[in-house]
């Protein structure tokens, strides 16, 4: 009973905040530019993501995918351009934006000396689930979703790469956010887990706006409703996988990808 009450309280607030937002454009990126010193990593990127969309973010190494995501999540400040998440401007009210986003950074960083349970507990508290019942309920849910139950009491530094990745994914899902930003979510996972993570993303996608970057083109085919390809910080493709294939005479995605980005490598 006690757990049930807390569940209603804690998840209720998150869902309410998701439903309050009248925008269908959950993410709106307008003319985004990001410089690192003299290097222009992102050069005038614009796109929108609606609720229900799974946006596949493709591009060769160093194209600016991770940088774009870091700006959207409020970690880096844009050099120019605007990013709106659920109607909030990232530069003006970063904390509101961060509340709405579940973010899996590249390589899934986590505090190595903590156990999985302690780490997820910390994230839960920082996300506003302070009572021990609400916290336990959140951890229980994501540990189940990401198959972490067997390593709950293991310190993160002793986990294998795939398990570390799952901890990062679990952390991003913990508050059931209306926006998911996932930087190479299936990197390092075994084939079964890859499959499972894709299923999970797809299952959750109706209620959320999702951006994921990947180097696995079959993944895009399997789950993405839209593709954006960027090279050298510029968007070269923004359409559905089917449209893209139709426009290129039914070629395979990897051929199209190579054709569009080969000047880079």
């Amino acid at each position: 009973m006690r757990t049930g009450g807390a569940q209603e309280n804690s998840s209720g607030s998150v869902i309410r905040c998701a439903r309050q937002i009248p925008f269908t454009d959950m993410i709106e990126v307008q003319g985004l530019v990001k410089d690192y010193g003299s290097l222009r990593a992102v050069d005038g990127v614009s796109f929108k993501v609606n609720r229900g969309d799974i946006l596949g973010f493709l591009g060769p190494n160093g194209a600016g995918k991770s940088t774009t995501m870091k700006v959207i999540t409020g970690f880096l400040r844009p050099t120019a351009g605007t990013v709106l998440v659920g109607g909030h401007d990232v530069t003006a009210d970063p904390v509101d934006v961060k509340r709405m986003i579940g973010y899996l950074p590249e390589n899934a960083p986590a505090y190595p000396e903590m156990t999985v349970e302690e780490f997820l507990g910390f994230i839960a508290e920082a996300r506003g689930f302070r009572s021990s019942a609400a916290k336990a309920e959140r951890i229980e849910r994501v540990a189940g979703l990401c198959h972490l139950t067997q390593v709950r009491r293991q310190t993160i530094e002793t986990l294998s790469k795939g398990f570390k990745q799952r901890v990062g994914f679990a952390q991003a899902l913990l508050h059931d956010p209306p926006v998911l930003v996932l930087d190479e979510p299936t990197d390092g996972l075994d084939p079964n887990q890859k499959h499972e993570v894709r299923d999970l993303i797809k299952k959750m996608s109706a209620e959320k706006a999702t951006i994921l970057s990947t180097h696995i083109l079959e993944e895009v085919d399997a789950i993405c409703t839209r593709i954006i390809i960027i090279t050298r910080g510029k968007v070269v493709v923004d359409e559905t996988p089917d449209e893209l294939r139709a426009r290129h005479g039914g070629a395979r995605l990897d051929e199209i990808f190579r054709e569009l980005t080969q000047t880079d490598t």
Binding site: K70, G74, F75, K98, P109, Y111, E113, E118, G128
Partner: protein
Amino acid sequence: MSQIPPLFKREFLGYFRSPVAYVFLIVFLMASVGCAFFLGRFFDSNIASLESYFQFSPWLFILFVPAVGMRLWSEEKRSGTIELLFTLPVTTLEAVLAKFLAAWAFLCLAVALSFPMALTVAYLGDPDWGVIGSSYLGCMLMAGAYLGICSLTSAFTKNQVISFVISVFICFVMVLLGWSVFTDFLGGYLTLPSWLVDIVSNFSFTTHFSGFVKGIVDAKDAVFFLSLAGFCLFLNVLVLDR
């Protein structure tokens, strides 16, 4: 500010999740008690006070506070967890304060663990508890000022060694400014006017700490330590925000 408790808790408990805390506490106690016994002639002085213990605190802190403070931001930057931290719904100020307060609490714990020294003194003689209390207070406030500097320098680099070395250097200068040998040098050899020497030594940790050890709690000294820490943390926020 509501986000401070979870960040504080993670940071503070983090010290005890690795051997860092235990190694630090033990070595710090051995060094500080050792200084009091061997350099300060704790027993020979035959006075029931902790002055011989506390007179070395400014010097010990030069090494020990940077050892705690160097990892505050450098570690987060190197391991990439800073990306995690700053995509949680926290402001930079909250994160800076939470981490600072956690490290400060840890240093206060290290200082407080010398309390058996006070009990020894009380067993052997009849110390002035007011003086002992003010010494502990001053020591903890001073630790906060050192830590502010270390927190700031660690925000500049992902390399803990660089952060440590720069912190040690700045803290050393801050102690040196008030050291009698140095002020005598300024006044004697360089024949600087005494008002100038006073101004220089006014920026030193030792100058503001000496009152506390004698049992004089002067608000000016407390304000010096707190405002130095506050100013460093303010810069710390700016550095992280850029």
